[in-house]
């Protein structure tokens, strides 16, 4: 499974890319593989505030509906509208075109509590 080195990971298989006070969130390669073909993404609302580990949106595969949890707290500033027409981007490019939303970080200190790539790899190896 692909676990890029420049990202932070939640135990619930979301990733966070931090750029100063802004974070971009998506699901990991492992998560998209486990979900199987993603056929629908219920995006969060821009302007909504979310808490770390709070359910923020739903990703549906043919198999099942899965909750997505925000890795960190903040205010949602953008969502990836492309996923409405092309939900399979989560499968084909989970770390790029398949990003789900961006948020303004409420407390950058939360980022340090997420898994490092090595920790996340260890989690996957143990799973």
């Amino acid at each position: 499974m692909n676990v890029p080195d420049d990202l932070h990971y939640a135990t619930t298989h979301e990733w966070l890319r931090q750029d100063a006070g802004t974070g971009t969130v998506g699901i990991s390669d492992h998560a998209q593989h486990e979900l199987t073909d993603v056929v629908f993404v219920e995006l969060p609302k821009v302007g909504a505030t979310v808490q770390a580990r709070q359910q923020v949106c739903v990703v549906e595969s043919v198999k099942a509906a899965s909750d997505i949890y925000s890795p960190v707290s903040g205010t949602i500033v953008a969502v990836n509208d492309k996923l409405t027409a092309a939900p399979a981007l989560l499968n084909t490019d989970p770390y790029g075109e398949g990003w789900i939303y961006q948020l303004r970080l409420e407390a950058t200190g939360e980022v340090a509590q997420l898994h490092t790539p090595d920790q996340y790899r260890a989690q996957l190896a143990g799973a």
């Binding site: 629908f40 739903v58 043919v62 198999k63």
Partner: protein, 346 residues
């Protein structure tokens, strides 16, 4: 991998949608070793099976099969299964994995003299080869040495001294074969079929595609669409119930239900606007009132829209009736459709 009736089984190999299209457009193979096999042998077997099952086994010639139900006294479904007449006085029943023990105990408790009744599930493996190219693979596999079974026919073909039962049946709506062999031959048979099928684009398929394919055809899944609380009449499957044959378990309840009028019907529906895929146990609404709960639901890879099944009041059980499906608190429009939701590949 998921647990399915006590078996660890793959949901998918290459992907549910990919596997689904392989079966609709070409060829797929499913491991159905989880399914149960019972053998019933004896002079009295025919009458005994007719007393336990809803369809009329007397109609079967040697090598023929039929879809049928095992009912409780209330007319509720214990299991749906296929019964094959493999010899004049020998029958093969293929039952659902999760129901093997329950079915066997139910039947064993009602066993009569002169019948040999055996659960051979553990000793048998099974595969379903499904898709419009199945017949081509059959001929390539056997090099024209064996004739193909006809629709709903089962043949015994011996390979290296071991018997293989090959039936022209399936759960996808496509042409295809179901093969049962001794478990020790399973891995080799699976590899042989995959290797000979490569020229026809065969793909291994998991439980995910098995579900989307059967749902498009509106084939019920026991435990979801059928249960001890639902009857075959409510499920719209009365053609597999022969009320004119001698008495069978559940018959009195079905006759009474028919006389009173069947109050609800299992119908397929299709989402009428973009929506998340419906799932089992979602609320079904009509004019703001909940009238049912879905029993199955999924995205249909062929139709590219959400589809499902639900038991709705008989008055609403007609094609083009509009309903709403509650998906996480939001209601999305859907229409009731005729069976099947998708026709088999011509």
């Amino acid at each position: 991998m998921v647990d399915f009736g006590g078996w660890s089984m793959p949901v998918q190999y290459s992907g549910i949608i990919d596997e689904h299209h392989a079966v609709r457009g070409g060829l797929g193979i499913f491991d159905i070793s989880h399914m149960g096999q019972f053998f019933v042998t004896g002079e009295a077997a025919c009458a005994w099976l007719n007393r336990l099952l809803t369809n009329n086994v007397e109609r079967l010639g040697i090598g023929e099969c039929q879809y049928t139900f095992l009912l409780n006294e209330r007319g509720g479904v214990i299991d749906d299964l296929i019964v094959y007449r493999i010899a004049e006085e020998r029958w093969l029943l293929v039952v659902n994995a999760a129901k093997i023990d329950e079915n066997f105990a139910w039947m064993q408790a009602r066993l009569q003299g002169g019948i040999d009744f055996m659960d051979a599930s553990d000793e048998h493996a099974g595969f379903a080869v499904q898709g419009p190219r199945s017949a081509q693979l059959f001929d390539a596999f056997f090099g024209g040495q064996h004739r193909q079974p006809a629709r709903n026919e089962i043949l015994r073909i011996d390979i290296d001294g071991e018997p293989y039962f090959i039936a022209r049946t399936g759960y996808t709506g496509e042409d295809g074969f179901e093969v049962f062999c001794v478990a020790g031959r399973a891995v080799r048979a699976w590899r042989d079929i995959l290797s000979r099928g490569a020229a026809f684009g065969i793909k291994p398929c998991g439980l995910g595609a098995r579900d989307t394919l059967r749902l498009e055809m509106c084939y019920p899944l026991n435990g979801s669409d059928l249960s001890p609380e639902t009857t075959p009449l409510e499920a719209g499957l009365s053609i597999f119930v022969d009320l004119n044959k001698p008495d069978f378990i559940g018959r009195a309840a079905l006759v009474a239900q028919k006389a009173e009028g069947v109050k609800r019907r299992l119908v397929p529906f299709k989402m009428a606007a973009p929506s998340p895929p419906p799932r089992a146990h979602y609320g079904v609404f009509k004019d703001g009132v909940q009238i049912a709960e879905t029993t199955s639901g999924s995205l249909s890879p062929s139709l590219q829209t959400g589809i499902g099944l639900a038991y709705v009041p008989t008055a609403l059980a007609r094609a083009q009736e509009t309903i709403e499906i509650d998906i996480r608190g939001r209601r999305f429009p859907a229409t009731i459709e005729k069976k099947p939701l998708r026709r088999a590949t011509a």
